[in-house]
Symmetry: C4
Subunit: 189 residues, 4 copies
């Protein structure tokens, strides 16, 4: 029975969870690889090293923000994932899509860090989170329809996550739209 629920599609729930946690751990750590050690002339000068680091303040800000974003996405994955009884093909595809966005996120973060005021860099950053969140929302609603939720999931809990998902998707889509609009204005202007 347990064997069956765990291996419905031949994908164990534990291993997919494992892959997700691994990719989040790596994405969170890889963010820091984009921070470059600055070159300064006088090695012992605090002023020079400080101003070099301050010059890349955007990169550090982007690092902190991105670490927090990944932390929050991981937290929400935790809150929903344990309600699935088994992994269907739809859930697997949605999870892999989310993972591809999570793994792509360090690139978006580094791009934003270097081009903080470029609407295109902002659009890509927000779009990456938006695709992640929309895929996660579709997974949640689809899993309920496919009937793979465990009985312990109450209707209130399901609805809470569904409503939160709708709000997040609307907000993120609006942010993407605003940023794309800024891109168009930038190209036109």
């Amino acid at each position: 029975m347990d064997e069956h629920s765990g291996h419905g599609l031949g994908v164990s729930k534990a291993r997919l969870e494992f892959l997700v946690d691994g990719i989040f751990a790596i994405a969170m750590t890889v963010l820091v690889l984009e921070l470059k050690i600055p070159e300064v002339e006088h090695h012992r000068s605090v002023r020079e090293l400080g101003s070099s680091l301050l010059h890349h303040a955007g990169t550090f800000g982007s690092y902190l923000l991105s670490f927090m974003v990944l932390g929050v996405l991981w937290y929400w994955h935790n809150r929903r994932y344990h309600y699935y009884r088994r992994i269907t093909k739809s859930i697997l595809v949605a999870e892999l899509l989310q993972l591809s966005m999570a793994a792509f996120f360090p690139f978006c973060a580094a791009l934003l860090g270097q081009y903080l005021f470029n609407p295109l860099a902002r659009s890509l950053y927000v779009a990456c989170v938006a695709v992640y969140r929309v895929a996660g929302h579709a997974e949640w609603v689809g899993a309920r329809r496919a009937g793979v939720m465990i009985p312990e999931l109450s209707d209130e809990e399901y609805e809470m996550h569904r409503k939160r998902g709708v709000r997040a998707c609307i907000l993120l889509t609006a942010l993407v739209a605003i940023n794309i609009f800024n891109c168009v204005a930038n190209v036109m202007g």
Copy 2:
């Protein structure tokens, strides 16, 4: 008993699974490290940043394709691995060979991204997947012969995976042959 099946060779099935999942998680995330942040003159110009990014469109396409390839390979590993009762020396060697290809894959993906129309880059990319798949197929057939499959594996399931393996090996070998032929033509021409 459980101790014995888990430690036939002294390698626990769980730890090998763990190593596999870890390497896949890292390979999937490391792919993105090959994407370079472009340098543009006017930091706020969408047009400049956009054309710089488009210039590396091949790299992004290669990233997406490679993430999908790794996802599919991981999925198939999942579907077969849980049928093994224990890890034999042959399985361990085959798994390590597959892992060396999975870990090597980000290099092939980056090479393909930069030299999309170079037959050698394509050959290496396809050959990497082909070696992975042939090793996986040999592992599957060998494990059956060595009698290490769990009783829950039906003959239909075994045959399905075997036939799929044969087809995949033929297809990939053909792709490698075509690409090597293209290499020869390129050197000659």
Copy 3:
């Protein structure tokens, strides 16, 4: 019951442990990525390669020190984490803050390696450890107040960890203060 204690906040204790171990494993390995292969003229000359490597001795020293620091931090995480019955929101926030420092640590180590005698590099290095340790101490004391410790935790054990935490926080804060003072003196002088 087990389900409840594991999923108080919807975050399983095992998965958070997993994320922590993953980030530590990566941070410890990523340290080495900051070590650059030197360029020398005569490829077979031991003298040239040796003096090039010695020239970066600071980086190697910083690597060893940082690996040890991460090892000790991981060890202390081990000693305390298994006493928590479940993960509260405060514990999650404190853990994520600690993880952001652990993931940021390779950057501080590389900065220190290159600017061993720069007070700013030293300040950042020590501050990173200090923030980690203060967050860990707050987590420990807060967890007791929130009543989420398992009954097996004796008062002596709790007090031992609490006192050690207080001493470590005072020591690290003093080190940060001294280094900041050196920074000020360096800028002034």
Copy 4:
């Protein structure tokens, strides 16, 4: 009882195993990051790309060798680790020392790849493996003396691992000595 054996020092055996597997997975994947994508003038020329890649054949050879070395070290860790009943301070220190060598290994591999005929690069490579193996051997012998082996470990099995360890340590020490001798000869000559 299980609680006690697992948490003798406050370090769970599972988590240390986890850290080891994680670091090995990362070290094996990070090896490939040292392989650089070559720059060639004519993007579609197989001849140019081929000769560029061949020019770095040493790096590829070093990659393959190093992946195999790490695979073998991981395999031997597997064979011995499950015999420990709990983690003592000595085992933890020996494991961390081994991990620092495993994490340092990609640097040695990259150095060897670029300076294949430099005795210093060879010395560092062999010394890294030697330190790992000596620490592992000391751990094994020390664990028996401390009486932390599970009863299932037969005397034959213990002796087999001990003798293998002695032989490996002698062989590796001899290799290090030969390479250091070559270094001295190179500096003198």
